[in-house]
């Protein structure tokens, strides 16, 4: 136990380390939430390796890779927003946060086109087209829609969170010596990125 762990004060005092600790613990729950679906994915992939292979060919690797690049870049802008606020560069921080939100939106637009294209081809849960395929492919697409859908939901939540942070920064509520909320929003955003880092190869690159 390091000595820095002993802040023997109650909630009236500020405890940024504690605040981040709470955020990390929350992130673990997110990791395990997706972890449960990764369990499903790995078991079914183990059982239906060939079908997963065939089904993954239908996914557009270009869009997937492009979206990966978008999210990685948004992670960069997020971290730069924090550095900027540490260096008292408020405007730069706000700009970086807005770029992050913009990139997230861009990601979602791509996702939207990807999904609608699939749905136009009649591939969605419960469709006749999908039900006529092998069960391995049904499972692949069931997982595909669930996992990317839940991830997309997290992107939306992240956008809202960062949006709130932008507002707080503009109002000088987040400043160069009080920015733990921005850090926590950033942690959340990076986690959304990490999940995508695993989703991308597992769905798009197993052809």
């Amino acid at each position: 136990m390091s000595s820095t762990e002993h802040i023997a004060t109650a909630h009236v005092h500020r405890d940024d380390v504690g605040s981040r600790m709470g955020m990390w613990l929350f992130l673990f729950t997110e990791i395990l939430l997706f972890g449960g679906m990764f369990f499903l994915y790995s078991v079914y992939r183990f059982q239906f390796a060939h079908e997963f292979h065939v089904a993954a060919k239908e996914l557009n690797t270009i869009i997937g890779a492009f979206n990966t690049a978008i999210l990685l870049t948004s992670s960069l802008t997020m971290v730069l927003a924090i550095i900027a606020i540490q260096r008292k560069q408020k405007t730069l921080s706000i700009v970086m946060q807005i770029i992050t939100i913009g990139l997230a939106l861009f990601f979602l637009v791509n996702k939207y086109f990807e999904w609608t294209a699939k749905i136009h081809h009649g591939i969605y849960p419960g469709s006749e087209e999908l039900l006529s395929k092998d069960s391995g492919e049904i499972l692949f697409y069931g997982l595909y829609y669930m996992m990317t859908g839940l991830h997309g939901l997290h992107v939306v939540v992240g956008m809202v969170l960062i949006g709130i942070m932008t507002r707080l920064t503009a109002r000088n509520s987040i400043t160069h010596d009080s920015y733990v909320r921005l850090e926590n929003a950033g942690l959340y955003w990076h986690l959304v990125d990490i999940i995508w880092i695993f989703l991308f190869p597992l769905f798009y690159l197993i052809t």
Binding site: S2, T61, L76, L205
Partner: protein
């Protein structure tokens, strides 16, 4: 003491983050390129390995895990341990069926 505590110094120069970002982008390009090649069973392994490297970079640099106390590092290990051991035990059933 408290002041010191709240300001865990997370200040890097902008440069290192841009470098990490470049590395992440390169790794993405590599993983896409490798997926195009036919290396049999290694496709998934390589893809996952690269994904792990990327996740490690994001965790340690972007999420500042390196600068946090040891406690945070142990926390992450506990969570990963739980995830991995559950995975292994799950496959103690499925891989022997």
């Amino acid at each position: 003491m408290e002041q010191h505590n709240n300001h865990t110094e997370h200040t890097h120069s902008y440069g290192i983050y841009i470098l990490v970002w470049l590395a992440l982008m390169t790794l993405t390009a590599v993983t896409v390129a490798v997926a195009g090649m036919d290396i049999g069973n290694f496709t998934v392994a390589t893809a996952l390995l690269i994904a792990c490297v990327k996740a490690y970079l994001v965790l340690t640099i972007f999420m500042h895990l390196k600068q946090e106390g040891k406690t945070f590092f142990v926390f992450v290990l506990i969570a990963l341990f739980f995830l991995i051991i559950s995975f292994v035990l799950l496959f103690s059933d499925y891989s022997f069926q």
